[in-house]
Symmetry: C2
Subunit: 242 residues, 2 copies
């Protein structure tokens, strides 16, 4: 396991054989992968997109950066596609986390005890249209809708920050829903939407009634704990077909 | 002038002949307009969309609400179109602020001294595509783009809140731009994007290099003060053609 410094939580990777590297230290990362005779690579967890200036690439990193090209910094998909291409050219096979953690991929329909109603389903439909429109311009994966009103739209701040904001924008009456989908055309081998107990708690704190996620395209981190948290909060978890 | 309680600032309307009313007190509002023999109505200033429960309509308000229909609460445009329709049916003519404050409507090209460069123009193009996509699902009017990355997208929190957030999401290197446009298909008689000295100061505090707004579709509140603030901050103000 190669933990990216500043992103991977040391306590989480500590129990496993691992090393760490800066995101810009592509030479070190590739050397580590080769040293351990890795063939397949799984990219997992959120990485805040670095500024080019922030990256401080090592020698190999600078070469890779030249191959990726500045243009790839224009959108999430462009950069990830380029990273995949480069890893492929270096002889690695990029495998999606959902191909390995199959039991963690959310299916279609409800998990847990809380149910949807007509108002929630209408909010989910509106949220899906919004996330689709956003995805068409390579932005975000999520939004919050309450009573037909889009309270918040996610860009790079992340879902938790968006939920915190939605809390202060909520209006009286039935609570809203978090809609989190795979971007249209998104390569599922990276950056797959993830929902876990922390997401459920943040959604509940924001006064939401439920979370809708894309069936077959969402990682349920700590699935049982997430369902238990949803049941405790009376929050529905709904897998929707793309 | 009818100031909506909780939205109109008392100090701003104090110098003019005025009265105030709750948003839900449609009966009182219509009675005030008729008492003063108003024929034309100009709607100006932001109104946070009320929850139906929050509205506490008076008798006339409840009737109007029934005419507007619950469906109109689904998106900004739906509600505003319905409000226009009802005002028209009641015998009033809704006039856009930009038709009266013609000198306050921003034109095409640069105002003030600061110039754009290729990077800023690229950020503006990306921002325009994002705002267009959002507008197609009746959400927001603005976003912040830096170095090709969409830092923040506006939903109902308002531009100032979005700028505050963008400040913490900014990365090192050249600053971003605020792109604020008229929604496609938006009725310009209400909710026209407005930029003023406060917007300029908030954009500057967020580390932005400039503001792009839609030529012919943006109210420049306190135009001279806005330009002076932009010049002081080294921030460009660019009117872009729709």
């Amino acid at each position: 396991m190669v933990g990216l410094e500043g992103f991977a939580e040391p306590a989480v990777i500590a129990p496993y054989p691992h090393d760490t590297a800066r995101l810009g230290a592509a030479g070190k990362i590739l050397a580590l992968l080769r040293e351990k005779a890795c063939r397949d690579v799984v990219l997992i967890g959120p990485v805040r997109r670095p500024s080019i200036l922030d990256l401080r690439p090592d020698t190999e990193g600078a070469k890779l950066l030249a191959r990726i090209g500045r243009a790839a910094f224009g959108g999430d998909d462009g950069l990830l596609a380029a990273v995949h291409r480069v890893l492929g050219e270096e002889g690695f096979r990029v495998v999606g986390a959902h191909e390995i953690l199959t039991e963690a991929v959310g299916g279609s329909g409800l998990l847990g005890r809380a149910q949807t109603d007509a108002a929630a389903l209408a909010d989910i439909e509106r949220g899906r249209a919004v996330v689709r429109a956003l995805g068409s311009v390579d932005v975000g994966q999520a939004c919050v809708v309450q009573q037909g009103i889009v309270l918040a739209v996610e860009a790079i701040e992340g879902t938790d920050a968006m939920l915190l904001r939605a809390k202060n924008l909520a209006r009286p009456g039935p609570g809203g829903v978090l809609v989190k989908l795979v971007k249209p055309g998104q390569d599922r081998r990276t950056d797959l939407p993830t929902i876990g107990p922390a997401t459920v708690r943040a959604a509940s704190a924001a006064g939401l009634r439920g979370i809708a996620y894309e069936a077959g395209g969402t990682l349920l981190a700590e699935r049982d704990a997430a369902i238990a948290a949803a049941d405790a909060a009376g929050l529905f978890l709904l897998g929707v077909e793309p």
